[in-house]
Symmetry: C2
Subunit: 247 residues, 2 copies
C-alpha cells in the first residue's frame, strides 16, 4: 500500500466496487496516494475514518456515499466527479473542454451500467442479502444478460469505433484516459461475473477486447494488478459471480 | 414553447423524466432554448431527430440516452454533465471550483436517487410493463419508501442545514443554483408519486419543504410551471403514482 501522498482515497477496504475506478486512475498515473480505509487504525486508517468523513461539512460535504477523494482542503464524492477532477491532473484526459465533456458523459454512463450490474443480483434492495431475493434476481439477471449487457457494451464498442483519431484504441483523444481504464474494469468485471454471457458476445466487441488487453499491459496497470493493492473480485462487490445468474 | 435560441434540448416529448431537470434550469434562468422533440416534424422536431442525434459522432457522441443538450458544435449527454455545463453559464452555480465540485456531486446523488425512484416501479426491467412486475415492485417499493426515501431526503436536508452561509435556504452558495431546482423537482416528484410517505416525513424536512415553496415562487419558475411547457406528471415517467406502492 502506498503510505504517503497528495491524494487520499476513502473507500470500503474489502471490495473493488466503485472505488476501483479511482484506484485504477491513480495507479495508472503513478500518483502518490493513500487508500485510507485500508490502513490500520493505528496509522489513521480504518472504516471509521471513512464514515466520519461522510458527515464532514467543511470540504463540500456532507457526502452520501464513498468513494471520497481528498486533496488538501478539497473533498470530492461520486466516482464520475472524482475522475473528472483527476483526469487532467493525472494526464488521463485531454485538457480541452470537448474532450473533458465527452469523457464525463462516458464515465457517467459507466456509472449507470454499474447500478444495473449491482441490481442484477440485488433487484429488491441493497439492504437484503442476495439469498433473500434470488427469484427476483434470476428474473432480472436473465433480462440484464440478454438485453442490457449487449446494449451497454455494444454502445462502448461504438464509442471506440467512432474515435477514428485513435484508430479505435482509445475512448477519448489519442492516448490512455480514465475512460479507457473504466472500460477495462467493466470488461474485467463482466468477465468475472458473467463469463458465459461475455464469451457469447466478444466476437462483436473486438475493440473492447483489444482495449482490455492493452490496458492490462500498461506497465503501471500490470504492476498494480499483480500487487496486493488490487483486491480480488468477490461476492461482496458490484460484480459477483453467481453461476445461476449466468446460465 | 420557445422557438428559437442558443440551446437545443432533446428529450422525450411526453414526460418530465430526466429532461425536466434541464428544462427547469433553462426556464429559471430565462435562457432561450428549443425543446426540439416537442416541435412538429415540419419544424425540424419530433422524436426521430432525437434518436438520430444519439448516433451522431461529430459532437462528442455517440450517446447512450437522452437528455441531450446542444449548443453550437458541442453536444452533451447525461443530466449531471449538462447541468454542470449550464450552471455557471446560466448563473445557476457559483463559478469557484469548490462550489462547482459540490454542486456536481450533489446532482450526481440526485441522479442516483432517480434510478431508485424508477426502479421502485420497474425492479425487474425497463423493457417490461409495470403490470408484468407488480409483485416485485410491491416488495421493492415497500423498502424504498421505508428506507431509501428517508435516507436520501434526510441527506439532502442535512446538505441544506450545513450550508449556513445561505441560512439553509440554498444547497450551494448563497443564491439559487441548479441543485436547488433539482431538490424542488425531487420534492415535487416524491409528493406526486408517494404522497402518503412524504406526508409522514415532512416534519423532519423543514428546509426541503421551505425550499420547495420558495423555488416554486421564483417568478420564472412559477411562470413555467403554469405554462403548457410544463408536462404534467404521468405514469410514463420516473415519478409514477401507483397508490398500491404508497400504502
Amino acid at each position: 500500500m502506498v503510505t504517503r501522498g497528495s491524494y487520499e482515497l476513502f473507500y470500503w477496504p474489502s471490495i473493488q466496487g466503485r472505488g476501483e475506478f479511482v484506484r485504477l486512475a491513480l495507479e495508472a498515473a503513478g500518483a502518490p496516494y493513500v487508500d485510507v480505509a485500508r490502513l490500520p487504525a493505528e496509522q489513521g486508517g480504518g472504516v471509521k475514518v471513512l464514515t466520519a468523513l461522510l458527515a464532514e461539512t467543511s470540504g463540500g460535504g456532507p457526502f452520501f456515499a464513498p468513494p471520497l477523494l481528498r486533496q488538501g482542503t478539497v473533498t470530492l464524492s461520486q466516482t464520475g466527479a472524482i475522475l473528472q477532477y483527476l483526469g487532467p491532473r493525472l494526464g488521463l484526459c485531454p485538457e480541452d473542454e470537448a474532450s473533458r465533456v465527452k469523457a464525463n458523459h462516458l464515465q457517467l454512463t459507466v456509472s449507470d451500467f454499474l447500478v444495473e450490474v449491482h441490481d442484477a443480483h440485488h433487484p429488491i434492495a441493497s439492504s437484503l442479502y442476495y439469498d433473500d431475493q434470488k427469484p427476483e434476481a434470476s428474473r432480472r439477471a436473465d433480462l440484464f444478460v440478454t438485453n442490457r449487457i449487449p446494449k451497454y457494451l455494444g454502445y462502448f464498442e461504438r464509442v471506440l469505433e467512432s474515435n477514428a483519431a485513435a484508430g479505435g484504441r482509445h475512448a477519448v483523444g489519442a492516448a490512455l484516459s480514465y475512460v479507457d481504464l473504466s472500460f477495462f474494469q467493466l470488461m474485467s468485471g463482466v468477465g468475472y461475473a458473467f463469463p458465459r454471457a461475455l464469451a457469447r458476445m466478444t466476437g462483436k466487441l473486438p475493440l473492447l477486447v483489444a482495449l482490455h488487453e492493452s490496458v492490462a499491459a500498461v506497465p503501471a496497470v500490470a504492476a498494480y494488478l499483480a500487487s496486493p493493492r488490487r483486491i480480488p473480485f468477490n461476492e461482496h462487490g458490484i460484480f459477483r459471480h453467481y453461476p445461476e445468474l449466468d446460465p
